[in-house]
């Protein structure tokens, strides 16, 4: 959800986020409970067709799975050694398909729509004093600050290298923490100025 929404007009783009979340829940529950190679093959076909109908480019689809590559390799090797190749394929396949299905939801749903749905789902919590708007905002900000903090980390790493302090942990942690706190302070001011909390 870090800005990976892929604009489109497919039925998946237009479907209510709540319905998509329910289908995701059913899909992942099914492949976990009825885990077998034929079920996984059917699930993989289902996901492939869903990506095609949503008109998600192949490159973008594979990009969603890239962060998993090392986990998949390690998990596959370990499970193969422990339980054999068939079981290893089942476990790793379940993980990959679940992530692919979740990524398809984020690719076809704007953050605004997803958060509005979450806010509605949290409505009953209002009766015990939970401010659902603030909970949704916290989730939004968590998504939003990831690239900002990645930028901070990148520039601090460059500055550390420029000063010849590559191996100095303090030269990394201290400026990252200070700049992150400074950013949080500025963000807080901006949120107040935009009427959040009023």
């Amino acid at each position: 959800m870090i800005g990976i929404y892929h604009p489109g007009t497919s039925w998946l783009h237009r479907a209510p986020p709540g319905l998509k979340l329910v289908i995701l829940l059913l899909f992942t529950t099914t492949i976990v409970i009825f885990r077998s190679l034929p079920v996984l093959a059917g699930a993989a076909l289902f996901i492939f067709i869903a990506y095609a109908l949503a008109r998600i480019p192949m490159g973008l689809a594979l990009k969603q799975l890239r962060p998993l590559r090392w986990i998949v390799l390690l998990l596959m090797a370990f499970q193969w050694w422990l339980l054999g190749w068939e079981r290893a394929f089942e476990i790793v396949g379940t993980l990959v398909l679940a992530v692919a299905a979740a990524a398809l939801i984020t690719l076809t749903t704007t953050t605004t729509a997803m958060l509005a749905t979450l806010e509605r789902m949290l409505t009953p919590a209002r009766f015990i004093g939970v401010d659902t708007e603030k909970v949704a905002l916290v989730l939004t900000l968590t998504i939003r600050v990831v690239p900002v903090i990645a930028d901070i980390v990148g520039s601090v790493r460059d500055a550390r290298r420029a000063r010849g302090l590559e191996r100095n942990a303090r030269a990394f942690v201290t400026p990252v923490v200070i700049r992150t706190v400074g950013y949080s302070h500025d963000l807080g001011d901006a949120l107040i100025a935009r009427g959040v909390g009023d």
């Binding site: 800005g3 929404y5 604009p7 953050t111 939003r144 963000l187 001011d189 901006a190």
Partner: protein, 225 residues
Amino acid sequence: MIEFRDVCLTLNARPVLSDINAELSGPRVGIIGANGSGKTSLLRLINGLASPTSGSVHVLGLQPDRNGRAVRKKVSFLFSNPDAQIVMPTVAEDVAFSLRRHSLSDPERDLRVNQALHQVGLTEHHDHPAHALSSGQKQLLALASIMVTEPQILLCDEPTTLLDRRNTREVINVLNDLPITVVMSTHDLDLIRDWDRVLVVDGGRIIADTTGIEAIATYLKLVDS
């Protein structure tokens, strides 16, 4: 429209502003001064981000420290760092975020968002990730997110400090076209040269309240001395 009456501001036992008396009106008011002179604090008092230690501030008939919510509906703030102002992951969503409390139908909201993006020239970036924009585009997005709420007063705190010359020109062109009161602090003296009203702030006091050209002369004399 904006009135400071005997305003003093102390932060962490350090006097930041002293004896501020001024009435700000007109379409454009500039504020210049050295770093730490009190420019930002003056702006923060106007929309209630800071409260005066003594004296009072009046904005459109309201006191920001007592009626912050009502004031912030009419007075918006553009900060130096656009990254700190962008809340939502994509461009259009960030503009729409400003309208969350407005009772608008989806088509009405989309229309307002599109108009705001058109106003700052970001229409083609509608669904782009906000973090992928250039610094200038981010500042324009921050401006669109503010203007979509149709404020009466816009406070700008060094809005071009982090921008190159080209991006500065783009942001200033949009600011110049706004049909509302703009109060802007800046270190870029060229931006306020032709303005009719510019305050020079030094050591927490307003030492000059005059035209852009005279204010720049006063400020340069101060710096040279």
